[in-house]
């Protein structure tokens, strides 16, 4: 690390005031603080308490927590592809096929990640330069999440457009990282969902049936193949007791849903990988366990109530534990609902906020066939309500304490 430090220090004068590359000082600053802790120390007077965990470290922990879900997503892209072309029969996985599937997924997902980062960071750097501010690090996580919550067949220009829209209209106009009302990655997804609905739902986009970069294209699909996601099947089912299946028609059990070898948005399918990320987020204290738990509790309770009601509707008849394991529920609960900027901040508020999201997600899933997955809309709704929830909690607390603070009568 010493040599890297020396390089950075050698370059520093060129980026300082009056240096050759002063125009790019925010870029330099961004990379410098990305690599090393800033060398600012507290002043003689004023606050003396420091924490080594600045927002860059926080963001990196979230990115690390997302890595298992991303790696599994890559494998699943290849797995679904080779399942569709018939090269792989489910249950017969060899080592060579495993790596082949993984490589296929890597090649398919990498462009999405690159486009999302280039566009988002480009806008972020430009704005920072323009406003003479430091580069904010919020996009590190957003740029990583966006490719994980879209179908693999989303065209790259759409991802670029949605990312630009989200960064400008959901973040920069509110004042940048930390000031946004809505989760930026979800705004990107919502933009795609409403602008190009045919590319964001249905049974054509979640499994890559064509080749990637000309590799393994032009196969005919195996008999009985269907690219519909489990939630998509539930939303379009006419039979209220329909059994959900994977792409080649085998039924999905709870364990199958946890393992995540079924079509869906890239990073959302495997619950184990998401739980691994959740462990990291909770042990480091980056995400609130209250929010996370209450989303699951809210969703589980709502789905359980609907199960008991006997409604003539496939989604409402799906067991509650399946609802928690399928689709983007776990991903949303762990990585999106817990976003510290857009979630509720009071401790009681976190419970209310989480329950609200869980309940809303299940209600959208069950009662609006136009939206097979309700998690995105539920979290955006939760984001919208979070300030109100916080305000109410604070007001209740003030009232309670005011009552206690009466002056004793003489």
């Amino acid at each position: 690390m010493k040599w890297l430090y020396n390089i950075v220090e050698k370059l520093r004068p060129q980026f300082d005031e009056g240096g050759k590359f002063h125009a790019f000082h925010s870029l330099f600053d961004g990379f410098d603080t990305f690599l090393f802790t800033p060398n600012t120390t507290s002043k003689r007077l004023g606050v003396q308490i420091h924490d080594a965990t600045d927002s860059k470290r926080t963001m990196i922990i979230v990115v690390l927590a997302l890595v298992p879900a991303m790696l599994f997503g890559m494998f699943n892209i290849g797995y679904q592809h080779f399942l569709a072309t018939g090269e792989l029969v489910s249950g017969s996985m060899t080592c060579a096929l495993f790596w082949k599937a993984f490589a296929f997924g890597l090649l398919a997902l990498l462009p999405l990640i690159i486009v999302s980062y280039v566009v988002g960071l480009g806008i972020e750097f430009t704005v920072a330069q323009w406003k003479h501010e430091e580069i904010a690090e919020g996009f590190l996580v957003t740029g990583f999440i966006i490719p994980l919550i879209v179908p693999i067949d989303t065209p790259l220009w759409m991802v670029a457009l949605a990312t630009a829209f989200a960064v400008i209209f959901a973040k920069e106009i509110f004042g940048g990282t930390g000031y946004n009302i809505f989760n930026v990655a979800l705004i990107a997804r919502a933009f795609l969902f409403f602008a190009y609905p045919s590319k964001m739902s249905g049974d054509q986009v979640f499994v890559r049936t064509d080749g990637t970069w000309g590799w393994d294209g032009g196969h005919s699909l195996v008999d009985g193949f269907s690219g519909a996601t489990p939630l998509g099947q539930l939303a379009t089912a006419t039979d209220p007791t329909v059994a959900i299946t994977n792409t080649v028609g085998e039924p999905i059990s709870l364990l199958g849903a946890m393992n995540g070898l079924y079509p869906g948005s890239v990073g959302e399918t495997c619950v184990w990988a998401i739980l691994l990320g959740a462990c990291l987020l909770l042990t480091t204290g980056v995400a609130s366990w209250k929010t996370m738990l209450s989303v699951f509790v809210g969703g589980g309770l709502m789905a359980f109530i609907l199960n008991c009601c006997g409604i003539d509707n496939a989604a409402a008849n799906t067991p509650w534990y399946m609802h928690l394991a399928l689709g983007g529920f776990a991903f949303g609960a762990v990585f999106m609902a817990t976003d510290p900027v857009t979630s509720a901040r009071t401790e009681v508020g976190k419970w209310i906020y989480g329950l609200l999201i869980g309940v809303m997600a299940i209600l959208v899933r069950c009662f609006n066939p136009g939206y097979p997955e309700g998690m995105m809309l539920a979290i955006l709704f939760g984001n919208l309500m979070a300030p109100l929830i916080d305000w109410c909690v604070v007001q209740v607390n003030i009232k309670k304490r005011m009552k206690r603070a009466t002056v004793k009568k003489q």
């Binding site: 065209p155 220009w157 759409m158 209209f169 933009f191 409403f194 602008a195 190009y196 609905p197 045919s198 590319k199």
Partner: protein, 203 residues
């Protein structure tokens, strides 16, 4: 025709510096509702311009005879008469556009710009000035409608005034119309963008 400084201000001020939509934020509702395509927006802009100008003149002529207590009713009657007139003309000569605009032609009566101009200008100014003020405000409204509708129709349907503008080649290579542009939410964002640009130019 030489216009004095004040007259010029009355006519041209509302086009940009004092635009009813993007500076006074009036008439937003119809600006969101009728701008999915360029043609209805154009017709709507013209209709509002005519109605504002004419009702301004009428109210200005009557201004000294209208009792203060019932002036709103008098204004409403004048506007309603003109709106009905325009609506009938549209139904007679441009039926398909009248159907597209549907209830929004009738709702011109409740357009804030109209009542605002009548109250704020026509009640206290002479007919000629009132005419210019009405024309200016109507055109200021129409310009914003046309800008919003231009982008919504271009990006949402790939057409302008019903003619395909984005070449078929683009669609064959994966371009798609943006469904979000068809929603009123996006129109609000577009109006916001226009306000953004306008304010950063006229600081």
């Amino acid at each position: 025709m030489a216009l004095s400084q004040k007259t010029k201000e009355t006519l041209l001020g509302p086009l940009s510096q004092n635009n009813p939509v993007i500076v006074q934020i009036l008439g937003i509702c119809s600006a969101l509702a009728v701008t999915v395509q360029l043609k209805p927006a154009l017709v709507m802009g013209i209709a509002v311009t005519i109605i504002v100008a004419m009702s301004n003149v009428v109210i200005s002529l009557l201004r000294n005879t209208i009792p203060m207590r019932i002036r709103i009713i008098v204004q409403l009657v004048v506007v309603a008469a003109l709106v009905t007139l325009v609506s009938e003309v549209l139904k007679a000569f441009a039926y398909d556009v009248a159907v597209q605009l549907s209830v929004y032609i009738g709702l011109i009566i409740t357009n804030c710009i109209l009542m605002g101009r009548l109250e704020a200008f026509a009640m206290t100014n002479k007919p000629w000035d009132s005419l210019l003020d009405g024309l200016g405000n109507g055109l200021g409204y129409a310009i914003i409608l046309i800008i919003v509708a231009f982008f919504r129709e271009l990006l949402g349907s790939g057409t302008l005034l019903g003619f395909q503008v984005i070449p078929q080649w683009c669609y064959e290579h994966g371009y798609m119309n943006n469904g979000m542009m068809m929603m009123p939410a996006m129109a609000l964002i577009l109006v916001g963008c226009i306000i953004w640009v306008h304010r950063s130019i006229n600081k």
